[in-house]
């Protein structure tokens, strides 16, 4: 044995597995309490991960939608005159808009006033179901990016006949599941065969409640005056704004202020922005839940230290330094909240998956959310454990041992 003066008396460092094992003592001996206080953290983290996950999944879905629908569709719609009547675009409006150089494609619909759509002729005229009849150009579907759900779209031949294509909502309200030669509706007292039903029109929802007939048949049979009421123009991606600025004046040179110009993809984006505000609110609620969870952990740790004074005294008598006691309780607090954090992240991701699946979205759980959640968990565990751990380490060994 070396002499006392040469004995440096350096405390041994605990190996990492020993630190973890010692930190887990409290969790193992009081599993129910550990589970309950981890639950608080889990609720907070899962709420936050789910909120961000669902919002990201919805955003990704919108991006994908805009990717296929394009953001270069512009509409020019009849506004109202200075006397409050509905304005009217000239007959040549389409041709004039088509002459704007960066406009790739232009098409139009013309609303046919007072032409209600009914399942049979026996239904009172006043029950319009909110449905509107439009004369539609053949290019409408391509320009608006709308798909046919059943049957076909109007062509040059059917445009001359009493044939109609129904928007998705119109078909639903009329109780028509699919198109067919025997399916007919009554428009302005005349029978029209339903040759097609459309999918929901994402960019141009006004078409959902529309009955679309050919331009010629509308003029011949329904008294349509031939004036377009809405123009749909696809502009070159790089010149959308430029086209937008001249669209009104081009469509109606005599009264540009009587034309309402819009970019339908804006509406989708605006809706998303509104959802974003809700997301922030929910995120705040999640943060509060997390804070409450953190307080729960702190509370558990304070009680744990009080109850385990005898154990602390024993460990000190066995040679634990103050630092090692502090580390033990800090580790316990970190394990506790990390347990909640990992469970919460898993629950949040699962909720996102479930919700996205019901909405037929692709599931997106950004890695940063999970990492931020676990980071927050570690920070909370550290903060919650700090004070109890310091108290534990400051206990006098003899007083700790005297505890019952």
């Amino acid at each position: 044995m070396s002499g006392p003066t040469r004995d440096r008396l350096r405390p041994a460092r605990l190996a990492v597995p020993d630190v973890l094992r010692t930190g887990a003592v409290g969790l193992r001996t009081r599993p129910v309490r550990a589970l309950l206080s981890a639950l608080g953290i889990a609720i907070g983290i899962s709420a936050m991960v789910a909120v961000v996950g669902i919002s990201s999944s919805s955003r990704a879905d919108l991006d994908a939608q805009l990717e296929t629908l394009g953001t270069n569709l512009l509409t020019a719609e009849n506004g109202s005159t200075m006397f409050g009547d509905e304005a009217s675009m000239p007959l040549a409006a389409e041709a004039m808009v088509d002459r704007i150089a960066p406009v790739d494609e232009v098409t139009a619909v013309g609303r046919i006033p007072d032409a209600g759509v009914y399942r049979t002729s026996k239904i009172p005229v006043a029950e319009t179901n909110g449905l509107v009849t439009y004369a539609a150009r053949a290019g409408l579907l391509d320009a608006t990016g709308t798909e046919v759900a059943s049957g076909t779209w109007l062509n040059d031949a059917t445009a001359h006949y009493p044939a109609v294509v129904l928007g998705s909502l119109a078909a639903e309200r009329l109780g028509i599941g699919s198109a067919g030669p025997d399916t007919q509706v009554v428009i302005d007292g005349r029978r029209f065969t339903v040759i097609g039903v459309l999918e929901p029109a994402e960019l141009t929802p006004e078409l959902d409640s529309a009955a679309l007939v050919g331009w010629p048949v509308a003029r011949d049979e329904l008294g349509f005056d031939g004036h377009p009421t809405t123009l749909y123009a696809r502009a070159d991606e790089d010149h959308v704004e430029a086209v937008q600025s001249v669209l009104a004046a081009t469509a109606n040179p005599e009264a540009p202020n009587e034309v309402d110009v819009a970019q339908p993809s804006d509406a989708l984006e605006a809706q998303q922005a509104a959802d974003q505000a809700l997301t922030s609110l929910l995120l705040g609620v999640g943060a509060v839940a997390l804070l409450v969870g953190g307080i729960g952990v702190a509370n558990t740790m304070v009680i744990s230290v009080l109850e385990r004074r005898a154990e602390i005294g024993l460990r000190r008598s066995l040679g634990a330094t103050r630092g090692q006691v502090r580390t033990q309780f800090l580790t316990e607090s970190l394990l506790l909240s990390l347990l909640g954090g990992v469970a919460g992240a898993a629950i949040g991701a699962t909720v996102t998956l479930g919700y996205a699946t019901t909405q037929s979205w692709e599931t997106v759980v950004p890695a940063w959310t999970v990492l931020a959640g676990l980071g927050a968990t570690v920070a909370i565990g550290g903060l919650a454990g700090l004070y109890p751990a310091i108290r534990a380490s400051r206990l006098s060994p003899t007083e700790a041992l005297a505890a019952p």
Binding site: T321, P397, L401
Partner: protein
């Protein structure tokens, strides 16, 4: 210093005082020398300062004044970390109420006693098993405290205190919670450890046990009133 013959000193107290808030003087100037290999009893009425003295000997508490030397180290000059290292290497404690971790097997309780020596878990378990064999509990390794008798619990506690072969073993009324047969078993263990070279200091209220010890330090009101061999 008191005498210079015999083995090296294990513990030296020099005019050690311990005051508590409220004017209680638990130790009122205690000086004593305990050499390596001694077996010493501390006796005296309740409240006379026995536990306080044992805590000072074991470096669990710092005296208000006076010097304490353990294995040549002056306790007052050591930081908390070094003091802890000293305890982990030199001192084993046995308490009246065992202080075993509930829900942990005997061998785990003993192995945890070696945690702060820095040994790996395998080595700790191996030594814990040896220490349990030594106290005659080789057949109770996997039992948890609530499955053990009082005497067995105290033997587990002794195994924990001695698994690291500390040169000094301090016991505060180790037989206080046991019947006389179990108490005799515990005392026999302490005597055996002492025979093998461990310095043992034991507080006891039991006159028969006290009379059987080679040296008795008698305390009253925080002072040594008798030191008989």
């Amino acid at each position: 210093m008191i005498g210079s013959r015999g083995p090296e000193p294990m513990i030296e107290l020099d005019d050690v005082r311990k005051d508590y808030a409220g004017g209680v003087q638990a130790l009122a100037g205690v000086s004593v020398l305990i050499r390596r290999g001694e077996l010493v009893g501390i006796v005296g009425p309740s409240g006379s300062g026995k536990s306080t003295m044992l805590h000072a000997l074991g470096t669990l508490d710092r005296p208000t004044s006076g010097t304490v030397r353990v294995a040549g180290h002056e306790v007052g000059r050591l930081s908390d970390a070094r003091l802890s290292a000293l305890r982990s290497r030199y001192v084993g404690f046995v308490f009246q109420h065992f202080h075993l971790a509930a829900g942990r097997s005997a061998v785990d309780n003993v192995a945890d006693g070696l945690l702060y020596t820095g040994q790996r878990i395998g080595e700790r378990r191996r030594r814990a098993a040896l220490a349990l064999e030594r106290v005659g509990l080789g057949h109770r390794m996997r039992h948890r405290p609530h499955e053990l008798s009082g005497g067995e619990k105290q033997r587990v506690a002794i195994a924990r205190a001695t698994a690291g072969d500390p040169p000094l073993l301090l016991a505060d009324e180790p037989t206080g919670a046991l019947d006389s047969a179990a108490g005799a078993g515990v005392m026999a263990l302490l005597r055996g450890l002492n025979r093998d070279g461990t310095t043992v200091v034991v507080i006891t209220h039991d006159h028969d046990i006290a009379d059987s010890l080679p040296r008795r330090i008698r305390l009253r009101d925080g002072r040594i009133v008798d030191d008989e061999r």
